[in-house]
Symmetry: C2
Subunit: 477 residues, 2 copies
Amino acid sequence: MRVIDKLEPTIFVIFGITGDLAQRKLLPAIYHLIKDGLLHEHTAIVGVSRRDITVAELLNQVELCVLEADNVCDETVLEKFRYKLRMIRFDPVKDDDYDTLLQTLNDIEDKHDMCMNRLYYLSIPPQVYEPVIRNFGTHHLNEGCQHKKAVSRLLVEKPFGYDLESAKDLIEITSRYFSEDQIFRIDHYLAKETVQNILVFRNHNPIFTSLWDHHHISAIDISLSEQLGVEGRAEFYDNVGALRDIVQNHLLQLLALVTMELPKSIHNSAALHQAKQALLASIPPLNMANANVTRAQYVGYREEVKNPRSTTETFVSLTLTIDSERWQSVPITIRTGKALKAKRSTIVITFASPAEPDTTNKLTFRIQPNEGIDVELIVKRPGFEDKIEIVQMDFSYRGVFSEPEHPDAYERVLVDAIKGDHSLFATSEEVLAAWHILQPILDAWERTDDDLLIYELGSDGPSASMPAAPVTDSQPT
Amino acid sequence: MRVIDKLEPTIFVIFGITGDLAQRKLLPAIYHLIKDGLLHEHTAIVGVSRRDITVAELLNQVELCVLEADNVCDETVLEKFRYKLRMIRFDPVKDDDYDTLLQTLNDIEDKHDMCMNRLYYLSIPPQVYEPVIRNFGTHHLNEGCQHKKAVSRLLVEKPFGYDLESAKDLIEITSRYFSEDQIFRIDHYLAKETVQNILVFRNHNPIFTSLWDHHHISAIDISLSEQLGVEGRAEFYDNVGALRDIVQNHLLQLLALVTMELPKSIHNSAALHQAKQALLASIPPLNMANANVTRAQYVGYREEVKNPRSTTETFVSLTLTIDSERWQSVPITIRTGKALKAKRSTIVITFASPAEPDTTNKLTFRIQPNEGIDVELIVKRPGFEDKIEIVQMDFSYRGVFSEPEHPDAYERVLVDAIKGDHSLFATSEEVLAAWHILQPILDAWERTDDDLLIYELGSDGPSASMPAAPVTDSQPT
C-alpha cells in the first residue's frame, strides 16, 4: 500500500452526517481510507444528527462505494466501517446535548484505553456555525483529552462568511476557542491532484519556471464551468451565488497557486501560505469599473429556486491584474457558471513575446475532467507551401497513472487534517484577503441589479445583449 | 491539389539513372510529382546510362510506387512518365558523347517549340564529378538555350569532396562553369518535413524562442542511428565512413539549423545561408583532444566489405561547443552509426536552469521514424506522498496530418531545384566550413587507428572496453 506517515489515533465527529456533502464525499472517502488501511487501528467515527438514525440505516442510504470498481462495496471493509461508527442524536445548536457528546468521546477513549485526537467535521448551515463553536468552547470540546497530548481539530466547509464583515466576525468568534493551528478550512479544490500539481509543475519544469512572468505570459484564464444547475442546493445557493460559492474560494485559490512567488520549499506549509497571502494582498479590490465584471442568471433559475425576484448570479466573469513586478498588466480572467454547455475546469496560460503578441503558445492545466496538461505548439504544415499549423501536445493522468493511485480530494483532506498539515487548507488571512478583493463588487450588486444578464441553459454563458427581466419593484423607477 | 508557384518548363537530365539513389528516391519522386500535376506540361526527362536500356525496361525495374497506397502504380501516371522520358546511352567521362546529349536537348526543345530550363542531376561516383563538369563546360551545357532566359542548373549528390582540400578543388572546378546560383547540393535531410520544421518551430513558438540559449539549455544531442549495415554500398562506404557520409553533411546541417541565429525571415534563402554559415564558422576545428571523439566499426563489417584491413568507422560520436555568446559551454553531442539497435534520428534539447542543473526538461524533435515532437514534463505523482514523475507530451505528424500531405524529401528537392530556390541546399561555404571543422579528426585518423573500437550488430554502439582488432601491419611497430 501507499507509504504515508503513520496517522494518529483519532475520533472523527461528523456534524451533518446525513447531509448531502457528508454522504456524497466524506463517508465514501472514509470507506476508502479504511479499505486502504490508512487509518490508525484506533480510529472511531461519531455521527451527529438531529434525526434518529441507526448506523445501518445511515450506511444503507449512502452510495459509499462510488469510487470503487463497479460501485460495489467490500463487505469486510463495510463491517469495519460499521464497527468504528456510532451515531448520536443531537441538536448542535442546543447547549445541553454537548454533555452527551463529551460523554460519548470519553466512552470511546475508555474503550480504546487511550487519549485520541478529535476531529470535528462541520457540514452544517453557516448560520449555525457561531452557536456550535460557542458550545464547543463552553463544553471544553476544543481541548484534547487532559492527560496526554491529544488535540482537538475543527474541519469546516465553506462558505467562510457571507462577506468581509461576517467573515471577520466568524473568524473572531472561532479564534476565541480554537487556535489557527486547530482550524482546517476545506477548499476541496486544493486537494485535487491536478491542483496540487500546479506548484509541483511550476517548481520542477525549467522550461516553464523561467517563463513565469509578464515578459513571457500575456494572459491567464481560470475557468470553472458546471453543466448542472442548483439541484438540491436551491435554498442555499439562492442566498449565495457564484461569486461567493466559487470565486471567493476555489478560483482565487487557484489564481494564487498559479501566480504566487514560489517559496523555497513548496512542502513548507507556512511558507506556502505566506506566499499565497502575499499574492492575494497584491490584487487591488475589484469593482464594476476596474474588473470588467459580468454577472448573469440562467433562464429558468427563478422557477427552480422558487424565487421569482431572485437576482442571484449563477454566472460571473471578471478580469483583474496583479499589482506586482512579476505580473504587471497581465490580464487574468476568472469565469464560472452553472447550467453551461460543458463541465470543465481549466487554467490556460497564454505565452507570447512582447515583440510578437499575436504569436502565442497556450499551456492548459485541465483540472477536470480528463485531468492533465496540454500545450499548443506551432509547427510547419507538411507540404510545399510554407504554412503553419497549431497542434496540441497532451498529457493525461489517466493515460499514465492507474486509477487507484488517485486519492479523491476528500481522502486527502481527511488525511491531512488528521496529520495536522495545513498546506491544502485556507488560512483566515487568505479567507479575509479574498473577501477584501470581492467586497466592492458585492456592494455594487447590493445597490442595483441593472447589470444582471440572462443566458440559455446549456449555452456558453451570457452575451451582453441579453439583460435579465428586471425585478421592477426592487429598482428605482 | 497543392497550390505552389507555377513551375517552369524543364528538362531533367539524370546521370546515373540506373543507380541505386535514382531508382530508390528520384524516379519515385518524379512519378509522384507527375501524379500530383505539379510539373509543367512541358517537362521532359532524359535518362543517361552507360548501359543500353529502354524506357520500359528502366521503369519496370524501379519500385516506382513505393510511396503510393499498396505500392500500386496508377497506369495513367505511368503512361505520362513513359511519354516524358527518353533514354540515351552515354559514358559521362567521354567527351564525344556530350554532342549527342546536346542534340537530344535541342530536339526536345524543338518538339516542345520552346526554350526549357535544364536540370542536370548527378548521381555518379564522386571520382568522375570533375571530368563530367569539365565536359558540361566545354560543350556549353552549362548555359540555357540561347534565345530566351532559360537556365541550366546542376543538382549534385553528396559527398561534396573527400576532405577539405578535395572539396576546395571540386568547388573551384565547378565554379569555372557554373555560378553558385546554378548549383544545388542536395542534402536530402534538409528537405525532410521534420527538418524544415526546426526553423518554423524555433520561429513561431514563444515558449521555446525565449529559451533558446545557454541560460536555459544545458545540452543538445543530435543522433542518427541506422539499423542497416552498408548493404549495396560496400565499396563506396568503405572509402568514406560515417564521419564523411553523415556527420559532414546531415548532422552538421541539423546542428546549424538548431543553433544558428534566426534570420529576420526564415524564408529568405540568402539570409538563412548567411546565418547557417556564421554558425558553422563559430565552431572551432575539432580534434581528438577537444571533441571526445569515439569511432568504431561493427563486428563483421570487414567481411561484409571484403576488406580485412579496413579501418573505416561505421560509428562516430563527438562532442563540441560553439564559440558564441548564445551557446557558450553548452555541450553538443553528435552521434551516428550503422547496424545499431534502432533506426532513429532525433534532436534532443535539454533544458535546465543553472541554479538546478539536475532538474531538466527534454524537447525531442523526432526526425524519423514516427515524425513528431515530444516534451518531457515533470508532474506530481498522484497519491499522498509528494513524489514527482517524468511524463511525456507528444505530437505526431501522422496523428494530425494525413499521409498524402507529406511530400517526400526528394520531391521537395526537385521542386525547389526547378524553382531555383536554394533554401534547402548546401552552399559551397557551408560545405567548406563543415570540412574545416572535421579536418583535424580526419588527419588524426590518418596517423593512427589505435582508437578504433568495435561494437556488436544490433547494439547501442561501442563501449570503450572493446578496441577493434588492430590492423597490425599498418601500424608502427
